[in-house]
């Protein structure tokens, strides 16, 4: 299927840009005829992936860059790619296990939310190079009214 629309965002890795990332992706995704519930789920997923990039990838350094690429194809397939050039993940299998976290103060639920609210998740990572989280979800065509 060919790409219908896309937008790429480059954010500074600042904590106050996480909510900005959520809003911007949600604004793009609302081009699809999706429900408010679905939009909330997308926001959560983006929040988790972007927080991970800042917290784990960049270890809270706020002057690095988080890249988000969002696209929709002709088949209403949404793809969200969140990319950082941070420390990378040494063991992806382990990282994706529910409640696993390398940080004792955190819940280890980020990847679990991403898996649950998206149809597909793919993680590419190289220690020292960075991480790319690819998330996909299919939306039905014309599933609801515009000004509902």
């Amino acid at each position: 299927m060919s790409m219908k629309n896309y937008v790429r965002f480059h954010f500074m890795s600042r904590a106050d840009n996480v909510s900005l990332a959520r809003s911007c992706v949600a604004a793009f995704v609302s081009q699809l005829d999706c429900t408010l519930d679905q939009l909330e789920e997308i926001k959560l997923v983006v929040s988790e992936a972007v927080s991970n990039a800042i917290i784990h990838g960049y270890e809270h350094r706020s002057t690095e860059e988080v890249i988000i690429m969002v696209s929709i194809d002709d088949n209403n397939e949404l793809e969200i790619i969140v990319e950082d050039h941070g420390v990378g993940i040494p063991d992806i299998q382990q990282a994706m296990q529910p409640t696993f976290s390398s940080d004792p103060t955190r819940m280890g639920l980020g990847f679990t939310f991403m898996k649950s609210f998206m149809d597909e998740i793919e993680v590419q990572s190289q220690p020292g190079e960075g991480t790319m989280v690819i998330l996909r979800r299919h939306f039905a065509v014309n599933q609801q009214e515009a000004f509902a």
């Binding site: 106050d16 959520r22 929040s47 955190r106």
Partner: protein, 132 residues
């Protein structure tokens, strides 16, 4: 957790301002119960400050029980859930009780999904808590 006619001993208020934290906390103390009314979005930006603010109020005022009012919260992610679980662990360890009130359906979904509701019961209103 508190009597029928809640006697308001102290009202403390704290604004974590937009551009700073995007969240607002309002504290109300009724005997040894602290009510925290949260307004905004609870994510990594605000979770650390929230944790500190709540813990400070709990220690300073010899609080036993904690009610988190999420009525005005329109977003929470796993960073926010971490604040709740962390407060629950502390309160529970010292023999107190904690609950959440007023979470909207989409926040409730996240709380149930993560299993937090099994540790921290959910109520609709602050009034309802009186009976538990």
């Amino acid at each position: 957790m508190e009597g029928k006619n809640p006697l308001c001993v102290e009202i403390l208020s704290d604004d974590l301002r937009k551009g700073d934290f995007y969240v607002e906390l309002e504290f109300k103390q009724v005997r040894n119960t602290l009510i925290v009314r949260v307004r905004g979005e609870i994510d990594m930006l605000v979770s650390e400050k929230m944790r500190k603010e709540i813990d400070k109020k709990v220690e300073e005022n010899e609080i036993a029980n904690l009610i988190m009012n999420l009525e005005k919260v329109n977003f929470i992610d796993s960073s926010g859930l971490g604040v709740i679980i962390g407060r629950y662990k502390k309160i529970n360890a010292s023999g107190g009780r904690m609950c959440i009130v007023g979470a909207n359906p989409s926040i409730q979904k996240i709380l149930v999904f993560s299993g937090i509701n099994k540790l921290v019961p959910l109520y609709n209103t602050e009034q309802e808590v009186v009976q538990f």
